[in-house]
């Protein structure tokens, strides 16, 4: 009886989780009907415990936008009545009307629905540089049977991540250097072959996983003269085995987050690794950028989750010989791979920890009179080490933003209740609606323990003036993270550009950093001639023993600016300087890519940088993995060293 209930409950939760978080419906009919297997990898795989997973089509542009975020069928728009709605059927918000979004949008940005900036509708292949192919490489590759393409659409799709400047350029139909070719290996051995051939023919390889980078990591270096080949790992997406005794799963690195979770859920497991990009980002990408998931408080970040990594480098394959849970064998080689950002090789297979799908899950939220109190509460929760699976604190601007995304209320009763709640918080409790902020919570685990845990957290919150504000608010907070990227595309239709960036910072500096960075953004926008006050908002998204992760959203109306992207970049640059000056890190989980590499030396010291360089020099002496992330290119480095010689005063 109990077990029946359990498995039924588990089933239910698995379903619910899917609907809520990953949110998107399985679209098998969109998948490629006939898959061409290059070699016998798959045949071999059938011997192992292999789950069926759905595959990202090779022609991703068939399901996804080529010049914006996410699925082609899902987008925000203002309908004829001027009301915002979200199209498609994939998300909880899909098909809904959001009555207050327009007012919020116009009020916050000074934008107007009259002033549109539509994107180029289709990709014109003629605007794309013709591929520069290394014929010998192509010949040899053909012989292996690994599928490849040099069609413009495929190449353009893999030439960018989701930085503002990248998407902005696409919307204007402008393409810089794009890969000359895309290859789709479907197993470790195929990658080995590709890397061998690339080394043999001196071709530049850029690994491509989910394409959700926000660090310019996928941008092709302008100065690269060799043929650039994008290695798309999407076809390597199988769970090769699950080991229930050790609670590990061995997975191909091209699998995307939501697929991995879905497939593991079928067996009653999960990894618990849920970065906000999990719908599209891949396991290999997580490893390569040191990703962090929203539920890291229970499951850990990617570095805590991996047990074994296999990576193909120009020197050969790097991996450990066993799966011991911890080792003292010199510096952990995994840490050369984690965060290597595609500069050393391609991660092909990963053994990851797995956990049984939690029995019970509950959202929650707490309203605080102000951000200071909220941060103090999070700090206390961290001190007592009782953080729920996820705890996030939005500032006031983000709280209001969240409200703007409330769908149309179906009954007068609900709206009446909402009204009552507002009156209670603002009038009865004396909260200033322009200062209050909200923390969203997610509890997971055994039902009894969740309820107990919930009480503990709410009790702490109460000592900081926090009031429980219901499950619904909490859930909407998390939903926001999945649709925010879609919202940016809406903004870009109406002269509004923006982006998010993050940092990690010791507890005692969280408030100072948040205030100073937000203010710096406002200040810089004004100085750079932005006509309207920007949206400059932040939230604390992760708590640690010694500090927190802070996430900023920054957007502004660029009407009247000649070069909005440049202004945007200057402001983001200033904001990053401000972060560093206030004791924040260069990045908590987005990585460095090319966007932030100018600060690497300052961040990790020149000796530290030298260490990384020497690893790169050994592993990839010919710079086959030439995306030039993280480290300055060799020449630049030498010049910098020369310039660093102190100038004599005389």
């Amino acid at each position: 009886m109990a077990s029946n209930y359990n498995s039924a409950e588990r089933q239910r939760i698995a379903q619910q989780r899917l609907k809520i978080i990953a949110g998107h419906l399985q679209k098998d009919e969109d998948g490629e009907p006939t898959r061409i297997f290059a070699n016998d990898c798959k045949a071999e795989a059938t011997d192992r415990h292999s789950s069926s997973t759905s595959t990202m089509p090779k022609r991703r542009q068939e399901v996804m936008k080529w010049n914006g975020w996410g699925y082609s069928d899902s987008r925000f728009l203002f309908n004829k009545k001027g009301q915002a709605e979200f199209t498609g059927k994939r998300y909880r918000l899909s098909g809904m009307i959001l009555p207050s979004l327009k007012d919020w949008f116009e009020g916050t940005f000074g934008a107007s629905l009259q002033h549109k900036t539509p994107a180029a509708t289709s990709l014109s292949s003629s605007a794309v540089q013709p591929p520069s192919l290394n014929e010998d490489f192509v010949q040899d590759l053909k012989a292996t049977g690994i599928p490849y393409s040099h069609e413009a659409e495929d190449r353009v799709f893999r030439a960018h991540g989701h930085c503002l400047h990248e998407i902005f350029a696409l919307r204007e139909g402008k393409f810089g250097r794009v890969p000359d070719m895309v290859v789709w290996p479907n197993c470790h051995d195929a990658v080995v072959k590709i890397v061998e051939l690339a080394s043999k023919h001196n071709v530049c390889l850029i690994p491509y996983g989910g394409g959700t980078s926000v660090s310019s990591a996928l941008e092709c270096p302008q100065e690269e003269t060799r043929s650039i080949v994008s290695v798309d790992t999407s076809q390597m997406n199988r769970i090769l085995w699950i080991d229930e005794k050790n609670l590990t799963a061995h997975v191909e690195a091209g699998i995307v987050g939501q697929e991995l979770e879905r497939a593991l859920n079928e067996s009653g497991y999960c990894t618990g690794h849920e970065p906000d990009s999990m719908e599209f980002s891949s396991l290999g990408g997580w490893v390569a950028t040191r990703a962090s998931g929203m539920k890291k408080n229970i499951y850990g970040n990617i570095e805590d989750l991996v047990v074994h990594i296999r990576m193909v480098t120009p020197r050969g394959v790097i991996e450990k010989s066993c799966q011991g849970p911890r080792m003292s064998t010199g510096p952990d080689i995994h840490h050369f791979i984690l965060g290597s950002e595609g500069t050393l090789g391609v991660v092909t297979e990963v053994t990851m920890k797995i956990r049984p799908v939690p029995e019970y899950q509950k959202y929650g939220s707490v309203v605080f009179p102000n951000f200071e109190q909220g941060v103090a509460c999070l700090r206390e929760v961290a001190r007592q080490r009782c953080a729920p699976a996820s705890i996030r604190l939005m500032d006031n601007a983000q709280f209001q933003f969240g409200h703007a995304l409330k769908p149309q209320v179906s009954s007068i009763f609900t709206s009446f209740l909402d009204g009552l709640k507002n009156i209670y918080i603002t009038k009865f409790k004396g909260f200033d609606p322009h200062r209050l902020c909200v923390a969203t919570l997610l509890f997971e685990g055994n039902r009894e323990r969740v309820l107990q845990h919930e009480k503990q957290v709410y009790d702490i919150a109460a000592t900081f003036g926090g009031l429980a504000a219901g499950e619904d608010n909490g859930q909407r907070g998390y939903m926001l993270t999945f649709v925010i990227a879609y919202l940016r595309d809406l903004g870009m239709d109406y002269y509004v550009i923006g982006e998010s960036f993050e940092t990690s910072v010791p507890w005692d500096r969280v408030l100072d950093l948040c205030r100073n960075v937000k203010e710096r953004i406002v200040r810089e926008c004004k100085d750079k001639g932005v006509q309207f006050p920007p949206l400059s908002t932040c939230r604390v998204t992760q708590t640690y023993d010694a500090g927190a992760c802070v996430y900023f959203y920054f957007a502004f109306n660029y009407r009247g600016l000649a070069d909005p992207v440049h202004v945007y970049e200057q402001v983001e640059h200033a904001a990053r300087e401000e972060i560093l000056a206030n004791g924040g890190s260069l990045s908590h989980h987005h990585g460095v890519g090319k966007l932030r590499k100018q600060w690497m030396q300052e961040s990790i010291s020149s000796v530290g940088l030298g260490m990384l360089k020497s690893v790169k020099d050994y592993v990839d002496p010919d710079n086959i993995f030439g995306n030039r992330n993280l480290l300055s290119s060799r020449n630049q480095h030498r010049t910098a060293a020369r310039a660093g010689v102190p100038v004599s005063p005389q």
Partner: protein, 680 residues
Amino acid sequence: MASKTLYSQRDPALKKRDDFEDILEERRNFSDLRYALRCYTPVLYKGMTPCKPSMLKTIVLQSEQLHYVVNQVSKETGEATDIIQEEAVVILEEMAQRLQLSTIRFFAFTLSKAFKALFQSIRVNEEGIQRLQQAIQEHPVVLLPSHRSYLDFLLMSYILYTYDLALPVIAAGMDFLGMKFVGEMLRMSGAFFIRRSFGGDKLYWAVFSEYVKTMLRNGYAPIEFFLEGTRSRTCKSLTPKLGLLNIVMDPFFKGEVFDVNVVPISISYERVLEEALYARELLGVPKPKESTSGLLKARRILSEDYGSIHVYFGQPVSVRSLAQGRINRSQYNLVPRHIPAKPSEDALDFVSDTAYRLVRKQEENMVLRPWVLIAAILMQNLDGMDSALLTEQTAWLRGLARAFGAFLDWPDNEPAAKAVSSSLALHRDLVRTEGGRVLLTEQPPESSSPEEALFNRAVAALSCASYRNQILHVFLRPALAAVAMDAAATSRKDDVYGSFALLRDVFSNEFILCPGAASRTGVVTLARRERDTRDFEEACYLLMKCGAVQILKQDIVVTERGRPVLSFLSGMLEPFLQGYQVVCRYFREEANEGLTEKQYVPAVRSFAVKRILSDGLKCYEALSSDLQKNALAALLRMNALKKVKVVDLVTLKVNKTAVKTLEDALGCKVPVQKPVLARL
């Protein structure tokens, strides 16, 4: 709002300044009582957390910063922490302000009466007030008025109250507390009291700095203090003290506030209340200890006319934009911010450079009356001069002063003769006209001994000098260049610069000159080298602009027109050159082994008296303890003197050759050695 104007330079004559408005006018026409009781609702800092003075104390006493130091001191002394914490409470009690609106209203009423009796007008630049109002809302604000009179800080609060601006808390010297009742009144009008020196007292420093920082961080109120540290008895700006400036900038360096705005404020008195007192004090009559009865006696001054006061609120300066590219704030990342640490080299350097610029800003916006021009001329003609000639020269000097960017309050249409005669009338205490000649007045006119007569002449001369000093900053750099050109072996620019650099080093305690290039670590950065020549470049620019010199490729050539200009300019510095020489001579000829700093001033004064009486030297400034102390500091700094500690006594050891070299250089007897570094 707050801009980088601290760095703006170039043509000073074109400088745009605001207009003034008289705030006494309204007081003369409307009820003072109603004014004192009117509704006062100032705009406040947007990020302010409102709290009471007592709450402030609690925050300070509970701060991590203080706890850390208390524990540290407890470990060092073996005393229990609660005893030390108790000490901190006592220190804070003694220090803290208790700003009360009622006291302010009381002052608003009484001061209105007093000001109307004393002054013709109190003129304030209203645009400056508007800028300040804006700045107060945006960021924590630090007010930095010049300091010439006791009146300064009451006046400041009075003006801010008048304009409905947030009332400041003011750092005041502990000596005020000696005045029983007045001390507490001042405390209730926002003054907090600090000891004049607390060198090694860690606990005191911790309480004090945390108290100031807490008020700044919370945006409690604008913080006001005097960069010069004390009232300038000579009316020259004093070398800025850096302690408090360091403290108020620290919260910005450490990211605790987004920015801090500092506002230089120039208060210029047509006649300083303490005028006669100052000259006597400089001559060795000790200043009366602040006492309530002394203050009451000062009542007789109420019957005199002290002319006008001009208060110029300068452009608020954003510390953030000043520090851009100069302070690497991430240097504070690796140590918890509550642990006190010595400021880094770059922070010290930045603070000292900023202090210097701020004092120069104060100087620049000092309003100068025609009288200071007259005083400058009279100081070069101490035996008196023909009043027609005086008028002519005053008119000429007005032109020069304008060209150098002086902020003259002299309407274009007012003829020189009128300006001169009304100035002489206002300052009849100091000057008289006899048979068409203008002379300094000695008081009392008859004296028994030659020493006494000398003393009386000196009082008159030093009082007059204090007016000349008000305009000194306008002429200072070109004057140093003029002297340097006389002293230099050739007219080559680097030779002149060599002489200039030496003079600048000698006089860097005497005048506000750019802090030199040498740093504590001996690293000469590019910014420092630029700073090193800044004064000289400015001097050359001004001289060239007024046509006094031409600068050819390598040489500086005096033009025909330039000769009187240069001779006037060097004449202006002559008393200082002579005064320093007298000090040098004293050390060569008379100073004994075992001379202490305490004995130095009286000893050098009596030496100077002798010189003046026997050699007919006309240099009364050699009698000024201010000059004497500055000269001593210069000699110590330049290693011509050394402090030697014998047992408990610190004595001065003289390096006679070095003193002689310096004396000769100042007397232009020997061309100055080319400096080791030609930095041009």
